[in-house]
Symmetry: C2
Subunit: 473 residues, 2 copies
């Protein structure tokens, strides 16, 4: 691809500048006004050019359950989620497509999919998601979600002993699976990356983490996990390790400059110091943290401590969308109520830097992505400033972040390839996708998740909540 | 108007039902399946029919400044806002149009516009907004924003004496203005209502409140105001009255079942009891409360105390949008982090009830609006469940509230009149509106608000913040 974007607005130190941009092959070659046009011409007038954002944590298959799980805390929500997880790789393909489309149409050019695997069809699930992401053209970071302990272990014991089922797959088999996924699918040069991604300390043995570290080192893979999303997980880590989960992850060597950790709601000051010292990345998922009542992650503290922060939508069943601009908005304004001193509040420009460069750093790609810089990858988004939601003309980035942009993405490129044109997906028939989603679903309100009742009694007891006099929904 | 909506999904106790609806003139006449069609036929297949929501607090002219004011607390933000307020009634017309369009396209069929008046051109400003709302066809509650004290009085003194300018208009002249507005514009039967709406205790004398009560009683007008939006306002009320603002408003008789109060962030338990006892309505504006760092309003406590709660977008410069579905989403999930017991959390159905019936109650119109009930006004919205953002099919209201619906409103009616058809405004040329907004604005980043520097030093001192070492932006 060779093309010239003409007369686009870009942010510069003192405000905005109107400029031209040469893209040659997969990279930004020149940024300067009044260039002689080369290749295809793109009209950038009344449009804002920004680096593509990273949707730095999601679970694509949750799209099938968005809107349906009642407002409940993570531990009960998970039980409900797992009782109805999709079991068909074709569904995994469709929800990955949907996740990619919504991410792209809200400014994201990369997606980290902490992919829930269909039991017994794990590699097929990964293949389905990879197929979708390759088709769309989004830069994909597929992080197969693994664990080696039963879901019921995710709730603190409160000191009492419980019986737990053995997890369906052994630690060794799980590590072998990831190794096979790397062999089959890890193609960074083609925009498809595999990450090691134990779900988190609450459901993973040290052996699983250590095996992932070994794979990460051997194949140069990024590392991902959930970390201290809920108060229950904080309690559980103390029960399990006698120290914080962060301290434990440091001790076993999981934290690094290529490790990104989703949520990080319940870290204390000592934990934050460890995150900074190890150059680990926090992936902030503000909407799911509210939706599940997990808490407000101490993002202003992370920023003050020098911890890198990225932004994610989280899975569609806990958000319940993949609108990255919404996550960026709420992920910045939410923290204004946590610190009286507005000098610490996140500005719109800082918010997009978290979503772009912060996301790139968390994937160890800060040299290649995340800013409008000559030599970096052409992962770019051109926003239509004539969208009603971005009018009248004020501060375009201010309105993009603090407003509620609708139909705002005009064009998007990944690796120099045009994948959104005039607001339409280039490589996906969205009407067909909608029909497929429609045909494979039905309107409903209440499902009866068989496992929730048992889990709920235990959860309420351990968390010090009054006994149940009614169902949760 | 006589028409039949056929085969629409509506919420019923046990889930959803597919039904037909007769609308005759301005009212819902029948709700039942398989009706013989009368009048115009509306295809409701794969669509969800809900009562229109109320955007229960906004300031339309702030649209001109959306995106541009940096993240700062209300008291500084206001100073910046007022330094650049629109001074042209044509601008007031255009921003009222824009506010109505965004509200309608996100489910709102009524708007409460706490309208900032152009000094010296007050009635022209009201006329411009009324003209816009009549043109669009939205049900309008125009609440001219009045005060009789200078803006600088809105910051607590901290015990020190300050000089304040005299406000530009006397109390008497202000009350005469509202009386004239009622005479000229208050036409409830035509969908245009005038409210009495002192901005709040922080900038209004008792004489102004008492004059408004008298007008409200004489003309049967609803009452509106801001109430305890910020910590500074709480401190100020104590300085001014020696009691809480709520206690004071009760004493002077402003609170009633037709009084709606925007924000209500800093109320204590005694205040909440007063709100319940007086049947006053809280208008929750979650996004501006976050954006301005005002705090999280204790909405779960209000609900438990039986206080009616409605939802507003607040003005576009503190949100910075008029997406009512976004306000409903954030206004429900935000509170999950304030109460560990998820039995108290707001469900999606409760959220839309706040936005519909809660809004109607706050306007003393619960008998006429706010639910799908035979005999009520046909203020209705039909959502397109084939929008990608509302797929796959799960719980339609769950996804409407918890998701991020885009292009979701198919049709909307107010008073039985079709004003949105197939996602397009019937009575507004939106392209022309966009061009007008474009032509009257320019891209910029920093403006120099002359008043902010003085205000800031005082604000930081009174609020106990460290001295200024740098500007706020």
């Amino acid at each position: 691809m060779t093309f010239t974007i003409q007369n686009a607005l870009i942010p510069v130190d003192q405000g905005y500048s109107t400029t031209d941009v040469y893209i040659v092959d997969d990279r930004i070659q020149t940024i300067a006004p009044d260039l002689d046009p080369i290749g295809t011409l793109i009209d950038g007038r009344n449009k804002l050019l920004l680096p593509g954002f990273v949707n730095a944590h999601t679970h694509s298959s949750e799209m099938w359950q968005r809107g349906i799980i009642p407002p409940t805390p993570l531990e009960l929500w998970l039980t409900e989620l797992y009782d109805f997880s999709p079991l068909d790789p074709e569904q995994a393909y469709l929800s990955a497509l949907g996740t990619a489309v919504e991410t792209l149409l809200t400014g994201g050019t990369s997606v980290v999919d902490h992919l829930v695997l269909i039991p017994g069809r794990e590699l097929e699930t990964i293949a389905a998601a990879v197929r979708a992401y390759r088709q769309v053209g989004i830069r994909a970071f597929v992080a197969p979600l693994i664990q080696d302990e039963a879901l019921s272990r995710g709730i603190p014991t409160g000191g009492s002993e419980s019986e737990h089922e053995t997890y369906l797959r052994s630690t060794e088999a799980t590590l072998a699976l990831i190794q096979e996924a790397v062999t089959q699918f890890h193609r960074p040069d083609e925009g498809v990356n595999i990450l090691v991604a134990p779900t988190g300390t609450q459901l993973c043995s040290d052996a699983l983490f250590e095996g992932c570290i070994e794979l990460s080192d051997r194949y140069n893979l990024c590392r991902h996990a959930h970390l201290l999303e809920t108060r229950a997980q904080q309690i559980l880590a103390q029960e399990k390790y006698g120290c914080s989960a962060v301290e434990h992850l440091k001790q076993i060597g999981y934290l690094s400059s290529r490790t990104s950790l989703a949520h990080c709601v319940w870290l204390d000051d000592a934990d934050i110091e460890i995150m900074a010292a190890t150059q680990s990345t926090v992936v902030h998922n503000p909407l799911s943290n509210l939706r599940l009542g997990s808490g407000i992650a101490p993002i202003l503290k992370y920023r003050q401590a020098g911890v890198n922060v990225a932004i994610g939508c989280d899975g569609s069943a806990s958000n319940d969308s993949q609108d990255l601009l919404e996550a960026i908005k709420v992920g910045s304004i939410l923290h204004n109520v946590t610190d009286l001193d507005y000098h610490h509040w996140i500005t719109p420009r800082e918010a997009i830097a978290m979503a772009a460069l912060g996301g790139a750093k968390g994937l160890n790609l800060a040299d290649d992505m995340g800013s409008l810089t000559v030599g970096k990858k052409a992962d770019l988004v051109l926003y239509d400033l004539m969208s009603l939601s971005l009018l009248p003309r004020t501060d375009p980035i201010g309105l993009l972040v603090l407003g509620r942009p609708v139909n705002a993405v005009a064009h998007a490129w990944v690796n120099g390839n045009l994948i959104v044109k005039d607001g339409e997906m280039c490589n996906v028939n969205v009407n067909e996708l909608k029909q497929n989603l429609f045909d494979r679903s039905e309107w409903s309100t209440k499902r009866q998740a068989p496992s929730v009742a048992q889990t709920e009694a235990k959860y309420r007891s351990v968390m010090g909540l009054p006994g149940i006099t009614q169902g949760y929904s």
